[in-house]
Symmetry: C2
Subunit: 238 residues, 2 copies
DNA sequence: CTTTGTCCTGCGGAAACCCGCAGATTTTGC
DNA sequence: GCAAAATCTGCGGGTTTCCGCAGGACAAAG
């Protein structure tokens, strides 16, 4: 068995290396990459079928790297190992996992034991292992109590990029009014109408406030924004 | 000499501990704290005069912790040790440094040597040590080529929180038009008028786009947003 | 087949935004 | 001390948001 480690922090990288060695004695080769860019290259070059991947790296983050790796070999087993359980990351990951692929999502705050167990479960037993906390986020984001639907999430991203209603309508092939309808739903879901103690009305610019709340709740994060921005420019020139 | 380490990642914490031991043999006590909250408490309890501080921790981030520590004992020597050189962090730090205080700012990507040298320089020699890269950001943010003035930065934060022009005017004791003037300056500085290739005009909502650009350029980040949000609520109820 | 629910669409208006213009005030530099 | 530069302010308008109301398309349930 060969394992590829993609992680930008040297300390975490060597810790991971150690953990892999200890948990997977049948592993005869461990390759390290220090960002998504080179991670993709290594995966392609050595046909790695087992990857431990950090999210949040410069150059090219884990989600993008995982997507291209899975696009080339959908049977690759990927264990995501991240500091955070932001809804933006969780949503980003579930968005790109191919049909039937096996993957895991463990937090860096988890114990040694949990990490090693996850390594064996995912790589050897082909079982999906999702950290309890991450699972919770996943549920909440689907259970439509406060969770956003895909439609709402997409419009949130477009708004956050700074597009006007008209621009969004054009991009999404919708009428202006429909875009505004979705925006209103979004405003409800994000409790934008809650006033800040003082009974001041008209205190908030709803459009901007919605994005602020989304950022504070980690529904959105800057890495998701960066991805969307690149996509916007690509599509814009195609 | 006694040193306090405030850092949430266990691996980085023990690495730091090691580095302090090696670089400062005259140090006879090292205390560790795993977030800003307990960092403040430890600093107060043991009257620590030397602190190594991570930025970006949950609970209470390094900037806030440093501020309260410095408020109580302005002669405390603090070495910031961070993953990022976001303009938002750099600006946040310089905003809270007391007159004549000695401090340092090193990136985690720096070498062992650099870290140890910085430890000695700041704690023993009372010299300020700012990482070259961080220094660059600092210069750029002051050199008004593309850098924002304090006034512009403050309005950016208010806008990013989702306040309306009127609300900002009230908070800042300015007329509506003055707020809008500052906004226009902001739009210029952030190149919001640049259109995305396609000659589409009216494509961007300037207010939102400005914040998006600020986030993408790391002039703003979510930790700065969180801080501002708390401040908003505190002042709102006072 | 009807009903119910969900989504899209157009219309119209109140409010907020963006901004040029021009006068008043303050700050800066010499 | 005075001129230049930078800021603050009010006015007026064009544009964009925000949203209630009302009608149409389509699918699922009774």
């Amino acid at each position: 068995m060969r394992v590829l480690i993609v992680e930008d922090d040297p300390l975490h990288r060597s810790y991971l290396h150690e953990a892999v060695r200890a948990a997977l004695p049948e592993c005869d080769l461990v390759v390290e990459a220090e960002n998504g860019q080179s991670g993709e290259i290594e995966a392609r070059k050595a046909r790695m079928e087992h990857v431990v991947m950090d999210l949040q790296m410069s150059e090219r983050n884990g989600i993008e790297a995982a997507r291209t790796i899975w696009r080339e070999r959908p049977d690759t087993k990927i264990l995501f190992w991240s500091n955070y359980s932001d809804e933006a990351y969780v949503r980003g990951v579930s968005r790109i996992v191919p049909e039937g692929a096996t993957y895991g999502y463990v937090l860096k705050s988890a114990s040694d034991e949990r990490l090693k167990l996850a390594l064996r479960s995912v790589f050897v037993e082909s079982q999906c292992v999702i950290d309890r906390e991450v699972r919770g986020i996943q549920q909440k984001s689907l259970g439509n109590a406060h969770g956003l639907t895909d439609a709402e999430y997409e419009i949130l991203v477009d708004v956050a990029l700074g597009l006007t209603d008209k621009a969004i309508a054009q991009r999404k092939r919708l009428s202006l009014r429909s875009v505004q309808n979705r925006l209103q739903q979004l405003y409800e879901k994000l409790d934008v109408y809650d006033l800040p103690d003082d009974g001041m009305e008209g205190w908030y610019n709803l459009r901007m406030r919605a994005v602020a709340v989304a950022l504070l709740r980690k529904v959105l994060n800057s890495s998701a924004l960066e991805r969307a921005e690149r996509e916007l420019h690509d599509r814009g020139s195609s």
